[in-house]
Each structure stands twice: as structure tokens, then as C-alpha cells.
């Protein structure tokens, strides 16, 4: 009787063999992966170097002005500057810079790949059908799974963290860019064509500018997704605020965990509001 509750066949999946293949591939191409790794590490380090050269009060002043400009309210400027000040008060300023450099490097590469991909997909309907399930998979795959190949190919450290961040955060940039372009009013596109635009003129003078609000939302989402990878990435050796949280979990230190976690939240909120604010204010300028 119990037989019917059992699955009748189970294949003998040789995971060792597959893993071996992947490792072998990584080892055989180590030259390539090493150069990618050193390039990514250099990118993260140089962003961190730049951030390190900005004194804390200058950074807070920048946040203050940007928030004020973006949301057109003095109060927002003071609030977001104050939140940044709190991160500094708890001695997390340098860790925040480390986190920020990995996030920014990841977002930079995600956009570098994602935006052109989105444009390409919008232009070819068939490509859209092929790519959509891949994007779905990228978004729904548990994020920890990305860490394994990242480590195999790039070892522990910030390079792997950037790669994992890129894969996870790239999806909204691709999706919303292609959506934005496909949603441009058909008559506006026809008008562009009717005046003899080349495909490139049509893209850069009509389609992209018209899709800009949606594309900007995609960029904002990419940034937020990258922020959500901060703690996960610390498991493969990304330093910064995420690592603080990880240490606090391992040692069961409640306050340390919440303080570092709070700093991640503050950073995410500030980045979100600043980017969103800029785009909204652009829209309101038009209206």
C-alpha cells in the first residue's frame, strides 16, 4: 500500500561528476577568470578609494543637497543627511563605504549589460520570448545558489560578490528598459520613422527618451536589488555592513546585528529616495 506514496523512479544523478566538470572548466580557464576577478576587484577598490577620499561631512552635505534638490523640500534634505549622520555615529562609516563600493560596482556592471540587453529585446519580439523564462529563472532562483558558481570561478572576495550582485540585480534593468521602449506610443514611433529617421536616430532621439521614466524605474529597482544582496554576499567574503550582520548572527549579538542591519536599511532608503526623487522631479518638470 505504501508503494503508491513513493515516487517510482529516482535517477542516480552523479552530482560529483557534474561538479567536477564545472571545477575542471574553472581550472582550465583560470587565466580568463583570474583576469576578470582582478578587474572586478580593481573596480571595487577604486570606487572604495574614491569614497574614502570624500570626508564624511562632504558626503553628508552632498546627500543633503541632493535630497533637497530631488524632493524640493528642505525637510527631506535634513532628514536624509541626519540618517547618514547616524551611520557615522555608530562607527560604521568605513564599512558603509565598503558596502557601497561593492553595490555601486555591481549596479554599474548590471546596467552596462542590462540596458543594452533591454534595448535589444525590445527590438526583437522573438528574442523576448526566449529571454523571458531565463529572466524569470534569474529572479526566482534562491540567491544563495548564485554564490556557489561565483566562488568556484572567482574565489572568495569582492569579485564574487559583484558577480552575484550583477546576476541578481540585472533583471529589472533589462525588463523595464524593454517594457519602456515597447510601450512608447506607436504613433510617436511612426512619426519618427515618417521623417526618415535611421534606426539609431529613432532609438536615441525618440524611443529611449520617451521610455526614460520607465528605464529610470528599472535602474532604481536594480539598485534596490543590489542592496538586498549585501548580507548574502558577505557569506562569500564581501566586507562591509553585511559582514557585520553575519558576524552578529554567528555570535548571537543582538544589538550589533540590529545596528549594522539598521545601517543597511538607512543606506537603502537614502539611495532609493535620492534616485526616485530625481526621476520624479524630471517628470514633474515635464508636466
Amino acid at each position: 500500500m505504501d508503494k503508491i506514496f513513493e515516487f517510482p523512479f529516482i535517477i542516480n544523478f552523479d552530482s560529483e561528476f557534474v561538479d567536477g566538470l564545472v571545477r575542471g572548466f574553472a581550472a582550465n580557464n583560470s587565466g580568463f577568470f583570474d583576469s576578470v576577478k582582478s578587474a572586478l576587484t580593481a573596480l571595487v577598490n577604486s570606487i572604495n578609494w574614491v569614497l574614502g577620499y570624500i570626508p564624511w561631512f562632504v558626503m553628508i552635505a552632498i546627500v543633503f543637497l541632493a535630497a533637497w534638490r530631488a524632493q524640493k523640500r528642505l525637510r527631506s534634505g535634513i532628514m536624509y543627511a541626519g540618517l547618514m549622520f547616524i551611520i557615522g555615529l555608530f562607527g560604521l562609516w568605513e564599512l558603509m563605504n565598503l558596502t557601497l563600493s561593492i553595490v555601486l560596482a555591481g549596479v554599474f556592471i548590471a546596467l552596462l549589460i542590462g540596458l543594452p540587453m533591454g534595448v535589444l529585446i525590445s527590438a526583437f519580439g522573438r528574442l523576448n520570448k526566449t529571454v523571458r523564462p531565463i529572466l524569470d529563472m534569474m529572479q526566482t532562483m534562491p540567491v544563495f545558489v548564485y554564490l556557489i558558481p561565483a566562488v568556484i570561478f572567482f574565489g572568495m572576495g569582492s569579485a564574487s560578490a559583484v558577480i552575484a550582485t550583477v546576476i541578481y540585480s540585472m533583471v529589472p534593468a533589462i525588463r523595464l528598459t524593454s517594457l519602456g521602449i515597447r510601450q512608447v506610443d506607436a504613433e510617436v514611433v511612426e512619426a519618427g520613422r515618417s521623417f526618415g529617421s535611421t534606426p539609431a536616430q529613432l532609438l536615441f532621439k525618440v524611443q529611449i527618451p520617451q521610455a526614460l521614466p520607465t528605464i529610470m524605474t528599472g535602474i532604481n529597482q536594480t539598485l534596490m536589488m543590489a542592496m538586498s544582496m549585501v548580507v548574502t554576499c558577505s557569506m562569500i567574503g564581501a566586507r562591509g555592513l553585511g559582514n557585520e550582520v553575519l558576524i552578529a548572527v554567528n555570535r548571537i549579538q543582538i544589538s550589533r546585528g540590529f545596528i549594522a542591519g539598521g545601517a543597511v536599511v538607512i543606506l537603502a532608503i537614502v539611495l532609493d529616495r535620492l534616485t526616485q526623487g530625481w526621476f520624479d522631479s524630471e517628470e514633474s518638470l515635464k508636466g
Binding site: D185, E187, V188, E190, A191, G192, R193, S194, F195, G196, S197, T198, Q201, K205, V206, P209, Q210, L212, K286, G287
Partner: protein, 411 residues
């Protein structure tokens, strides 16, 4: 139709143009050749027939109107002229050159130099201001900024939008937006202007203005205009030649007079009859926008300036809520200026104020008595438009003529 043998009189010619959507097109063609209609073809083969075997010639420098119901294929025809829609079969000759199999590069040049289009929902780019939109066609042609902006400004002036070149598209009304669309099309100085139901998204009053504007611009520049509409009144008002399409086929081509005299079939006849709906005209139908008005608080100089600018002999006086208070004439304004009086001291309070739904024949007594135009206001007393004496009289005369004709037929 008149037979004009000299082909220089025609700028565009369509020869056996068909447009079919679907896979089994060959099969569909042979069915259509045997006289099947488009429903039959669609049921049998799944092919959609947008156009079948259309032949027409567009006279140079005239307004050519294509009229049909929605789905009749009129938009497909107009888009064949600049190949936004490539015909499945047939030739489209522009000055003798077949544009159907032009290379992409040649096509771009053709679109940049020879032909421009105005769209039903305007097709304007909201990320550019008026000037940026109007200059677009010149920009893709690679004309330098200074030159293209100068030309764009000329076009903006031509359509009566001077001073609005820096405005954003979102801040404009529908009528103004379509003026931008028209200016954009005129800016490249094309030979042919394609207009795909350009005024059907506008409200009737604005539509009349725009039709008038288009006519005067066309007469001035003598461009060939191909105009699509579903409104027979509009077609007969604008068209030097009118073509009626139905179910993807051309039914009749001719001047409005020819069509009125000999409709090709019952379909055309019914279409034409629908034009005759204006039996009961109201003030709304014949009112126009007042060219100038002044506020009670404005200076007398301002009133004089307004009159001079628009060439008027009187302007309406409104309060800050646009409620009509009266009218001030040129003589009174000049007297006030001499004696240092204000508008409030001299303006005429006794004007004829009516609501837009009043019948034109009821306006007759007022039109005869009053020295000023009749004022049309909404329920809140705000100025909506004016009706001039001349338009009341001409409207009534037209009607009495029609009635007489009808009486004759009864005898």
C-alpha cells in the same frame, strides 16, 4: 471623372495596390480575383485583406481626401504613400518612381525630402518642447541647429503658435498640439503632406478652426495634401477630389460636386446623405472664438492694442472669472483715452448674451438690431464664443435655399 492625360498633373499614382496580412496570401489573391469578399477570404484562408487592387491618381498641389469607415483601409492607403505600410502587391509611383521597392537608404531620403505626415493623436514627443518637435524632421536630416531652429520657428509662426516655441507639449490643448504636428510636417518643406484623420480627436469648434487653417495654408503653399477622414462634411469641405473606400476597395473618386450629382452606388449615396444632418443649426455650430477680450481692470491702452492687433472694431469686456460684462468699441475706447477715463466708465453693458443651444433662426432679431456680435456664454456666464451678424444671415440663407429646392422637387 475628368480625364487628364498629362501625367504632370498627378504627383502620386497607385497601381493595383493590395495589402494582405497572413500566410496563405497566394490563395487569398486567387479568391479575391474571382470576386470573393474579404469576410469569405478571411474565413477560408485566415488572411486579412486590408486593401485589394486599388488604383488612384493624386492631383498635384490639391487636397485629396480619402474617406471611409473605420477598418475600410483608408489608413493603410495613406501609409503606403510613405511606406510605413509596404503594399503586398502593386506599385506606388511618386513622380514616376516606384517607392515600393526603394532601398532603405533611398526611402529615408524620400521621407526626409518629399513627404511628411500628421497623425490622429498627434504623435508628438513629450520629452521635447514645441520647437524641438517641429525641428525634428530637420534634425534627422542633419541640418545645423541654428538653421533648423530658424526654419522651425517659421513653421511655428505659419500655424499661429508664435511665442509658444519653448512650451512643453503637455501644456498645450488638443488643437494647439495638432498645430505643432502640422508645423512639424511643414518644417521640412515636403511636397506632399499626409494627414491621417488629423482633426478627429479635436472638439468640433476647434476642428472648424483647424480646417480653415489647413485650407488657408494649403492655398498659400500649394502643397499636395492627402487627407484621411471618416467625416463626409469634412471631406466635402476640404477636398478638391474625394475618394471613397470601403472594405479595402476604392468605390468612387471625384470632386464633391460630381459625387453629389452621381453617386456611384447606394453606399456612396448613403454616405452623402449623412452630410445633410445640419437642418437644425444651433449657435454652437456657427460660433467662433472671440479673437480678443479685455478685463474690466485692464487699461484702455490695452483694449486699443488688442483691437489693433486683431483688426477689430470692438472687444468684449470680461471680469476676472471670464464672465461677460459687456463690450467696448473702438470709438468709445479712443474717447476714454482722450478724456483719461477707464474701461469701466465707458463700456457698453447692453449686449446680447445667449447660451450655445439656441437655434440660429432665433438669433435673427438680435443680429439685425445689435451693432455688436452676439455673445455665447456657458451656464456660469463665461464667454464661450461669438456669433457674427454675417454668419447668422448666411446660415439662414443657406437653409432657405435648401428648403426651396425641396419644395421644387415636391411640385
Amino acid at each position: 471623372m475628368r480625364d487628364i492625360s498629362d501625367d504632370k498633373d498627378f504627383i502620386i499614382e497607385m497601381q493595383n495596390v493590395s495589402k494582405l496580412y497572413g500566410i496563405r496570401r497566394e490563395e487569398a489573391f486567387s479568391m479575391l480575383r474571382k470576386g470573393a469578399d474579404k469576410e469569405e477570404v478571411h474565413k477560408k484562408t485566415g488572411v486579412v485583406t486590408a486593401l485589394y487592387d486599388v488604383n488612384l491618381k493624386v492631383p498635384r498641389g490639391k487636397i485629396f481626401v480619402i474617406i471611409g469607415l473605420s477598418g475600410s483601409g483608408k489608413s493603410t492607403i495613406v501609409r503606403s504613400f510613405n511606406r510605413l505600410n509596404r503594399p503586398t502587391r502593386g506599385k506606388v509611383l511618386f513622380d514616376g518612381v516606384n517607392i515600393v521597392d526603394m532601398s532603405k537608404k533611398k526611402m529615408r531620403e524620400f521621407r526626409r525630402e518629399k513627404i511628411a505626415m500628421v497623425f490622429q493623436s498627434f504623435g508628438l514627443m513629450s520629452h521635447r518642447n514645441v520647437l524641438g518637435n517641429v525641428a525634428y524632421g530637420l534634425e534627422v536630416k542633419g541640418i545645423k541647429k541654428q538653421e533648423r531652429e530658424a526654419k522651425a520657428l517659421e513653421a511655428i509662426e505659419l500655424v499661429g503658435l508664435e511665442g509658444l516655441d519653448e512650451s512643453s507639449i503637455d501644456s498645450l490643448s488638443g488643437g494647439m498640439r495638432q498645430r505643432v504636428g502640422l508645423a512639424r510636417a511643414l518644417a521640412t518643406d515636403p511636397e506632399v503632406l499626409l494627414m491621417d484623420e488629423p482633426f478627429s480627436a479635436l472638439d468640433p469648434l476647434v476642428r472648424d478652426d483647424m480646417q480653415f487653417e489647413l485650407l488657408s495654408i494649403q492655398r498659400k503653399l500649394e502643397k499636395t495634401v492627402i487627407f484621411i477622414t471618416h467625416d463626409i462634411d469634412e471631406a466635402f469641405k476640404l477636398g478638391d477630389t474625394v475618394a471613397i473606400v470601403r472594405d479595402g476597395r476604392l468605390v468612387q473618386v471625384g470632386t464633391p460636386e460630381e459625387m453629389n450629382a452621381n453617386p456611384a452606388d447606394e453606399y456612396v449615396e448613403r454616405f452623402i446623405e449623412s452630410a445633410d444632418k445640419a437642418k437644425v443649426m444651433t449657435a454652437r455650430n456657427i460660433m467662433i472664438k472671440p479673437k480678443g477680450m479685455v478685463r474690466l481692470k485692464d487699461s484702455v491702452d490695452r483694449a486699443l492694442r488688442t483691437m489693433r492687433r486683431h483688426g477689430l472694431s470692438s472687444v468684449f469686456v470680461v471680469d476676472s472669472k471670464l464672465e461677460v460684462k459687456g463690450v467696448i468699441s473702438l470709438t468709445e475706447a479712443l474717447r476714454a483715452k482722450r478724456k483719461g477715463l477707464k474701461i469701466a466708465d465707458v463700456f457698453e453693458r447692453d449686449v446680447n448674451i445667449v447660451e450655445p443651444d439656441i437655434l440660429v433662426k432665433d438669433l435673427m432679431p438680435m443680429a439685425i438690431d445689435s451693432a455688436y456680435p452676439i455673445t455665447i456664454v456657458d451656464k456660469k456666464g463665461r464667454l464661450k464664443g461669438i456669433v457674427t451678424k454675417a454668419s447668422v444671415l448666411s446660415c439662414l440663407m443657406m437653409h432657405s435655399n435648401e428648403e426651396q429646392e425641396e419644395d421644387n422637387t415636391h411640385i
